[in-house]
């Protein structure tokens, strides 16, 4: 998005959006694209909304800038947008300030602003981390609908593997600034290859795991990293380390199934099984199967 501070930051490489490199694009072109073609949803809606400007003005601002709408049509469109993201009584909400909305409402307002111009790319940076689980479920459902209905591409940035498992098609696992494993979601969770992915999966308590099962945390903390140039940054914390790990930066290995990993000594599926296998209890059905609601 080109939102990083200019000073002291080195950005290299390419970021192609429909063939055009965002990194070398003139600032004016990029400004036209932000909000219209691609939009971002931030983590904390309270600090990313302007506290002294009513919600309505903040939503119509986007419409004005990119779609040239103003006056009543813009108001109506803004109300429709709020309605679509599930804010009740949108006309009244338009006049309210961010502090008058609850956390879930604020996040919805932020999503409404992001989708105002039907962007083709939506980047969501921890959109639900600050929210309670029931509200999180509402927001995730909303994002799912947007992707399905509008054909928007969504980049979800999160630390929560549970959110990823339910929402994403492709997953990249990052560690210390590099992608260490990339795969479609089912292979990634079924057969994690990089020891870090395996470690992550082993360290989260699962709702469906029986009580008393030990967690297998990754030893140490992110502080214990080494630079990628010296070898694998994860090596100091890795239980699956070999001597080859410190010989230089490991390359991203591509397998024939579009599952790639950056590791010299990957975890085989048998080992992963042993590391993550949880004798899971049967998933309870919320509505008993025999009493299925009609129309389904």
């Amino acid at each position: 998005m080109g939102l990083l501070a200019k000073r002291g930051v080195k950005v290299g490489g390419k970021a192609l959006f429909e063939g055009n490199d965002l990194l070398t694009m003139p600032a004016t072109t990029l400004r036209d694209m932000r909000g219209a073609e691609m939009a971002m949803i931030f983590q904390d809606p309270l600090s990313s909304l302007n506290p002294v400007v009513p919600i309505g003005l903040q939503v119509t601002e986007v419409l004005k800038r990119h779609r040239g709408m103003k006056g009543e049509p813009a108001q109506k469109e803004a109300a429709d947008l709020l309605d679509r993201v599930g804010i009740p009584d949108p006309r009244r909400r338009l006049k309210e300030y961010p502090h008058q909305l609850s956390g879930g409402m604020r996040q919805r307002a932020l999503i409404a602003m992001a989708v105002a111009c039907r962007p083709r790319l939506l980047i969501a940076d921890e959109p639900t981390t600050a929210l309670d689980v029931t509200i999180q479920a509402q927001i995730l459902e909303l994002l799912k609908e947007l992707v399905a209905d509008e054909g928007t591409a969504l980049i979800m940035i999160t630390h929560d593997l549970g959110v990823v498992a339910g929402l994403c098609d492709e997953i990249n696992v990052m560690y210390a600034g590099r992608v260490v494993e990339a795969a479609a979601r089912r292979p990634l969770f079924a057969a994690p290859t990089h020891p870090y992915s395996v470690g992550l999966l082993g360290s989260i308590p699962r709702l469906d795991a029986p009580r008393g099962e030990k967690l297998r945390p990754i030893p140490g903390s992110v502080r214990d990293n080494i630079a990628w140039t010296d070898g694998c940054a994860f090596a100091p914390r890795c239980a699956h380390r070999t001597d080859g790990c410190l010989d230089g930066p490991p390359a991203l290995v591509q397998t024939y199934t579009a599952h790639s990993y950056r590791c010299v000594n990957p975890v085989t599926s048998d080992e992963a099984e042993a590391l993550t296998a949880a004798a899971t209890l049967p998933t309870p059905s919320i509505v008993d199967a025999s009493t299925e609601t009609d129309g389904e």
Partner: protein, 348 residues
Amino acid sequence: MMSLLSVQDLKVHFPIKRGVFFDRTIGHVYAVDGVSLDVERGQTYGLVGESGCGKSTLGRAVLRLVDVTSGRVEFDGRDLASLKGEPLRKERSRLQMVFQDPMSSLDPRQNVESILSEGLAAHGMIGDRKARRAHIQQTLDAVGLPRGALSRYPHEFSGGQRQRIGIARALVLKPDVIIADEPVSALDVSVQAQVINLLEELQQDLGLTYFVIAHDLAVVRHISDTIGVMYLGGIVEEASSDVLYVSPRHPYTKALMSAVPVPDPEVEDTRERVLLKGDLPSPANPPTGCRFHTRCPWRQETRCDTERPELTLVGDGHKVACHWAAEIEAGEIQPKSDAVIAAAVDAG
């Protein structure tokens, strides 16, 4: 057998004051409104709920860190809610608290030795210098901190290590009960697991009793024997950890369970989910009748909005506060169809 810690009909109401010269009380926030629960010795009681449901206030009220409006908090046969001054202070050495944010609950200008010996001094367990040192060292070993930690300050440690200091501070007094308010929610996932394992090991080794307060159902389920689910100042369901997961009976618990993402696509795709509408109502103006009826997909025309359901026993140690729990279980009452999201892929 008597429970080690027993809370009976506890209420904590905070007055809402307004006025320039005179503080007029114009209402109350019903943070905790009639909660009863029992914590058995050597067990872990987990309290879950969303933010604003009063779970932290309940934890603080047990230790009398906030004033109790009414009700009893019985600890080992004595009512803490009516104790005052010195006797209360004495009793507190047996109930210790671990707080959420280790950075703000540790004094940045005290080194670890001073943090750990302060409680010992306050409760006269100081002994001679050598014995005290040895005891503190032992505690540090128990929580997995290096011996060199004694002379260092909180900012020199990582988040996980700071939480270990917080746990050591609670442990050093050899308490019977540790009340942990969101002990791991400020930590990274990998570090979170280390601290959870530590808490479990300490419980096994020292026979501690835990009262754990958290919003993360998966964490609570992992460490608790018994779980209480709290909604807007009251407990709506209480059961053993496994029973609660396999057969949640209260509509709120069902919704909460299905909202927690499981890191497994197979599970995520095949389970049905209940989606709640709207937000938590304000505890200053709670709904009449059942507190949950404004958001409940199983809501009925009668009773729900007029009568507050009592926590009633429905099975072995399983208590539910819902008028219609039996009917819902039997499938006689269906949820509103728009609240249930079918599984993305059919199971099997």
